[in-house]
């Protein structure tokens, strides 16, 4: 019973993190692509495609952190100090990025500053998220219920690689989102970017996938012995399918298909990571069961999750529905 409960909640945390990655992924991507805007109008349109929804998207990050504390306090207490610097950097970056949404409309003289804050904040947030992911995959030293490594353990060539991968991948999500939400010259330009960002993202997925099994013998085992090896057939096959859908969509001027295919790539990469991690929550040694809070905490949390998460999904979907369709400059958006 205990196993099942913690496993269910682990899936929910994973769901929150995945929701964060795909939702804030594309809106961080807008920030990453921000310097490509050719005019003030482009900038307004780009920002206004996400202005009504970014708050909700970022809340999933709080849910990921808060949920981890609720359900796996030990994992939270180990991961946060281990990733001290990248997390602080990410928080500072998100501050700059978050306020830019309001501030840039409130000033003329300082507008370039807040535009830059939006861009740099998005890039740094994406990069540090990628670094954190890479550092987790590499494994974290634990002794006596606490982090036992050094302050720079997170900084390795592998984590820098995953950092770059996430920046480029978010860029792909952002560009395909804009294909869906804009028209005309901006949309055409984004199609061009999406192609190159798609190629680069696949390159990164490939390199990271090849390197991951060598980060830890357990990963290698997982992917190349049953039952894990089932995934090592399906995941690459589905990645191939998403790739095909992405590039066909771009070629045939489809509007939503490139975005959905890019989301597919992210979901598959995420599944790949979960497969590598299981049954650990902090590789290489801390398992889901070991890190879980007592049953009384898990049960209490689960009740709230069961009732509230479906509601959240409904009204979030509704908010997206309200703001559906193309964002046009003459809408007077902003």
């Amino acid at each position: 019973m205990e196993f099942e409960l913690s496993f269910i909640l682990a899936m929910i945390i994973a769901f929150a993190v995945l929701s964060y990655v795909i939702l804030d992924g594309f809106d961080l991507g807008i920030g990453i692509l921000f310097p490509s805007a050719k005019s003030e109008q482009d900038k307004s349109v780009m920002m206004n495609t996400i202005a009504p929804v970014w708050d909700g998207n970022e809340t999933w990050l709080v849910m990921g952190g808060g949920g981890l504390l609720a359900v796996f306090p030990l994992a939270y207490a180990i991961i946060m100090p281990a990733l001290y610097m990248p997390i602080i950097l990410m928080l500072l970056a998100l501050i700059f990025r978050g306020v830019a949404f309001e501030y840039r409309w409130r000033t003329v003289r300082w507008k370039p500053v807040w535009d830059f804050a939006f861009f740099a904040g998005s890039v740094i947030a994406a990069f540090t998220q990628g670094i954190s992911l890479g550092a987790l995959v590499q494994g974290i030293k634990v002794a006596n219920r606490a982090y036992a490594g050094g302050w720079w353990d997170w900084l390795t060539p592998f984590s820098l690689l995953t950092g770059c991968a996430v920046v480029i991948g978010y860029g792909l999500l952002g560009s395909t989102w804009l294909i869906m939400k804009t028209e005309g010259e901006l949309q055409t330009r984004m199609r061009g970017y999406a192609k190159w960002l798609g190629i680069a993202t696949l390159g990164f997925i490939g390199v990271v996938s090849i390197l991951t099994p060598f980060q830890d013998p357990a990963y290698f085992q997982r992917w190349f012995t049953l039952p894990g090896s089932i995934f090592s057939v399906f995941v690459p096959a589905l990645v191939g399918l998403c790739t095909w859908l992405l590039f066909m969509g771009l070629k045939q001027d489809k509007e939503a298909q490139p975005f959905l295919a890019s989301l597919g790539l992210f979901v598959l990469s995420f599944i790949g990571i979960l497969v590598s991690f299981y049954p650990n929550i902090v590789p290489p040694n801390l398992t889901i069961v070991e890190a879980a809070a007592p049953d009384s905490s898990l049960r209490f949390t689960l009740v709230g999750v069961m009732v509230l998460v479906p509601l959240i999904l409904i009204y979030t979907a509704y908010a997206y529905w309200v703001f559906r369709g193309k964002v046009k400059p003459e809408d007077g958006y902003h």
Binding site: V71, Y103, V322
Partner: protein, 476 residues
């Protein structure tokens, strides 16, 4: 000198700094969100365009403040892990689920409906828009409820047991959520938020009234804010008194520090109005005091004995001077708010609410004082909990993450620089929004566009406003 900056000191400074900045924004957005819901509701009910104008005016200010609240709040949710990971490991089983409920029932609600509340009126119609505005307001209150439950549990823990690795294990969630000090804290905080907002709204109204006595929007703001003050300020004083009695019961050392009672008073304790705490000698220097009054307030009996800090072991004693002063700041400001409310009521009864320039100036001076009082109140209660993070059970020293001082120092300095820059700019933009004219005749409402599709809408309401402006100068 430098070696006194241990990782613990730095982590405490960092927490104090980031949480103090953060508390400002919720204190304001709880009040403004409710104010917006009231304005929108009154507009829908009365079709009085002044309410709609005020809604649109305060909506932009709310958006900027809310943005700052969100980003400073994300910092808080991760800081438990980065700097206080042992605390997180030990209290996570209890505090984690409460915070998860806050996120699930409040943060998502606010963020999910914020887009519609800010710029969805055209797309969803008035009724759904009103619903969205109410959901945002309700979300801010839910958020306050859960976070106050968390904080209260740290002050007056209940419903737990402790396991063999030192973790707090939940035994009874009802007792945990509704722990002994929670109701008092929650009501005290929500009223503080409403008072803070009323003072700000009152100050903005007063500012524009000084410029133009006939300004309908300014009159409405000023009048509503002064009503709020006269109703809430006395209520807050009563609630504060109950809260104090509760604290005396569960955290007596905190009350001793607040009152400055270093010594026990077996035959009735005096109320120390002012004085200078002298921690070395353990006494209050230059004390001005009223005999027996402290016993009367705290025990409702002039001669009731009152224990002092001499009954508390030194290692459990909170830092008296900070608490002594912050408590006095909060109390004085509370009575100043009451004073402003009474003054406004007296002028209102005389029919001169809008004519007293001195009253308006006083309202402007009092504008930011809600924030000061809220900060002082939090300092009183949080420093008063020291040297524990979970009162009586988990010491602050034993809550710290295994971190090095330089890492905390670097992050602390970064937070200070970034916060002053970012929130300084935000405050400046908010003040500029508040400085914009509110005269409802012939005014351009929306020169500085918010990030939204509302220009078209504003154009139509602007026309409505102009046509409806004549009959509208009568104020309330």
């Amino acid at each position: 000198m430098l070696e006194s900056f241990t990782a613990e000191t730095l982590a405490r400074m960092q927490f104090a700094f980031t949480v103090s900045f953060h508390i400002i924004f919720p204190a304001f957005s709880i009040g403004v969100a409710s104010y917006l819901a009231v304005l929108n509701g009154l507009w829908l009910k009365t079709h009085d365009q002044t309410y709609l104008f005020l809604f649109n005016y305060w909506k932009k200010i709310f958006a900027v403040a809310f943005g700052m609240g969100v980003v400073s709040g994300i910092v808080m949710s991760y800081q438990f892990g980065t700097n206080w990971s042992v605390f997180a490991d030990k209290t996570g089983p209890i505090l984690g689920p409460l915070m998860a409920y806050e996120i699930l029932s409040a943060f998502f609600l606010e963020a999910g409906f914020l887009g519609i509340a800010l710029f969805g009126r055209e797309r969803v119609g008035n009724r759904l828009h009103m619903f969205a505005v109410c959901m945002v307001a309700f979300g801010t209150l839910m958020s306050a409820t859960w976070i106050l439950s968390v904080n209260s549990w740290m002050q007056t823990p209940a419903g737990y047991s402790i396991n063999d690795v030192g973790q707090f294990i939940p035994e009874d969630w009802w007792q945990i959520v509704f722990n002994p000090s929670f109701p008092y804290r929650l009501v005290h905080m929500v009223l503080a938020a409403y008072l803070t907002t009323a003072l700000v709204v009152g100050a903005v109204g007063a500012l524009h009234l000084l410029r133009n006595k006939a300004d309908a929007a300014a009159r409405r703001m000023f009048s509503m804010a002064m009503w709020m003050l006269i109703v809430v300020a006395p209520l807050q004083i009563v609630v504060g008194d109950f809260h104090g009695l509760n604290t005396l019961e569960y955290q007596p050392a905190k009350v001793m520090a607040m009152e400055g009672h270093y010594d026990s008073h077996p035959e009735g304790a005096p109320l120390i109005l002012f004085g200078i705490p002298n921690p070395e000698e353990k006494r209050i220097d230059y004390a001005i005091q009223i005999p027996k009054l402290s016993s009367l307030i705290l025990k409702h009996d002039l001669n009731a004995p009152l224990a002092g800090l001499d009954t508390i072991p030194d290692e459990d004693e909170p830092p008296v001077a900070v608490i002594f002063w912050s408590f006095r700041i909060m109390i004085s400001l509370g009575f100043a708010m009451l004073g402003l409310g009474v003054w406004s009521l007296w002028r209102r009864i005389r029919g001169k609410l809008y004519n007293d320039d001195l009253l308006k100036r006083a309202a402007i001076v009092m504008g930011p004082m809600g924030f000061v009082a809220v900060l002082a109140g939090w300092v009183t209660t949080e420093v008063g909990r020291q040297p524990f993070t979970v009162y009586g059970l988990l010491r602050t020293t034993d809550s710290l993450a295994p971190i090095d001082a330089p890492a905390v120092a670097v992050s602390l300095i970064s937070f200070i620089i970034v916060y002053f820059f970012v929130f300084g700019a935000g405050t400046y933009y908010i003040l500029r929004l508040m400085n914009k004219p509110t005269a409802t005749s012939g005014l351009e409402i929306n020169k500085g566009p918010i990030r939204t599709a509302q220009n078209q809408f504003i154009a139509t309401t602007d026309a409505n406003l102009k046509s409806g402006a004549q009959g509208d100068n009568r104020g309330i």
